[in-house]
Subunit: 370 residues, 2 copies
Amino acid sequence: MKIICSKANLVKGVSIVSKAVPSRTTMPILECILIDASANEIKLTANDMELGIETVIEGEIVERGIIALDAKFFSEIVRKLPDNEVVIESDDSFQTIITCEKAKFTIAGKSGEDFSYLPYIEKNESITISQFTLKDVVRQTIFSIADNDTNKLMTGELFEINENRLRVVSLDGHRISIRNIELKENYSPLKVVVPGKTLQEISKILTGEAEDMVDIYFADNHILFEFDQTKVVSRLIEGEYFHIDQMLSSDYDTKVKVNKREFLSCIDRATLLIREGDKKPIILNIQDGSLQLKINSFAGSMNEELEIDKEGKDLLIGFNPRFFIDALRAIDDEEVTLYMVNPKAPCFIKDDAGTYTYLILPVNFNAATV
Amino acid sequence: MKIICSKANLVKGVSIVSKAVPSRTTMPILECILIDASANEIKLTANDMELGIETVIEGEIVERGIIALDAKFFSEIVRKLPDNEVVIESDDSFQTIITCEKAKFTIAGKSGEDFSYLPYIEKNESITISQFTLKDVVRQTIFSIADNDTNKLMTGELFEINENRLRVVSLDGHRISIRNIELKENYSPLKVVVPGKTLQEISKILTGEAEDMVDIYFADNHILFEFDQTKVVSRLIEGEYFHIDQMLSSDYDTKVKVNKREFLSCIDRATLLIREGDKKPIILNIQDGSLQLKINSFAGSMNEELEIDKEGKDLLIGFNPRFFIDALRAIDDEEVTLYMVNPKAPCFIKDDAGTYTYLILPVNFNAATV
């Protein structure tokens, strides 16, 4: 194989597919990036068997062929080359020479035969949304997936399609994040659970431009994202996702409107007094026109008052401050509205348009110490 | 005690003195920042017994007093306060209330009595240089101090004054870095070894402006840096520093002039093939008009050719690439000149003005494999 392409194109392609290279594996071939120039295009592929990414880069094919190169070395070499044309040439023994200006690297490659290509996905069911939307939706929900494997389903996000609505849901047992997206067309109903890792990696690749689109295809066990010159294929998480609708009551006894930035920096300040693992709640004392925040820990105490718009009953309620910080950071609105019933029932943060819903369970606290 | 000062002033002062707060200690009082408002100024101090920093911040003293506050909590609280006036008030039981707008923190302070003030330094011997120069000199030499305590003297830098010359030296057994600075006046001869940590921390505080000056005072066991509103006092390292002059021969058989940026990026590329701890040398093959760099490792091989200006004999010599990278990064010149004798004798990188000298010992290699 012999190909010529610019350093910039190579760097871009390698950095895209590298997202699917496993950090640890017992199969050395998975640590490789496959360069496939056997047809009329130069295709880079990486695949950790859960997540596979393939991207086509521009360049000239001088001699057709396939070679698998250690992803770590290859990407570091490519990154540090001078900003010029790069020639990659491999022989029958998979010895590969990378030349750029006067620099010449020789590394051992591997046969592409052992490499696992991406699974073939039949392009039936699909939706199209903008890269901006997909990136935004992931950012606004990904923080509330569970970070351990105790319940596999909790490590993924539900993508649920109903007519012209896509609903994306994540939950970890203490909170639920929901984003609703309106689609341009009507689709047949569908429910899949996409691994959180897939969404995190894809977010890093997406340009996030509103004009750039992503086609999403659904197969029985896989999901395929197609955009620009890139395909991302991921296994789905099997199983029946949690029924969240019964938890989403719209009754409330207390409704609070508060400036998001002020609320967020106030909670952020309060968390200074809590060490990692310390389960001190932040107490909200909601009264007409004022929300008092209080936290007590071994390190000291903090309290602060915010101006609010309140409807309904007064309330004293405690939360894990981390959950509020995550949700408030995800919201772009200037004002947020909180809906609560009592100190034991979940708090909802919702917008009027129904774009997002964050449900946060309160925590018990000793009211006498407040 | 009760003082009022702006958040910005507090943040600046706290971030300066925090550099002297030890990360681990058995004496909790050392983890504190002392606020001393007992006289007519607000002085912040931190002291880990090796390094002590004191800085005066602007503000109003409503009630004189002294309080020691946990450095970590205090600096995090201060940083996250709204951008406004901050009131710090402590009572007889050292309970301290920090108020800013509607936020109110209550933390437990400590008596200032147990706090170790900075040692008193008699202001006899002193020199004055610009903050720019000091910061630059440290940057250009600090990388070649030894990073372990086997030989305490190697963890510091020699500051040697002779008439109107200051020479700063660091060495780790494999290389020596030397910077010469011309002073405005003549001083009596003096030699001290300043801990590397002190110089690293002071570098972070210095503005690096050419117009801002630093006064440096020398006492028997201490050095004092005074600049802006800040005093940094450090213990000196005791003992007789290495006699380096006998190593600084100016004879050479091969002299090479090379573009610094090209040389550096070439070596930088070559190191890709070496893993941490792997002692592969980079081989320089010096011939008329060309310098060939070569590296061989388990991962592959790399070679590259650079155009050079050569005087004297051809030479094949091997080095630890790390040492060249460090020295070349420290040098600001566009071209560098290397002076060598043979494959077993040190290589010198020197400028004509004698501002800097970097000595690097070569490493053995098997010439047959090159």
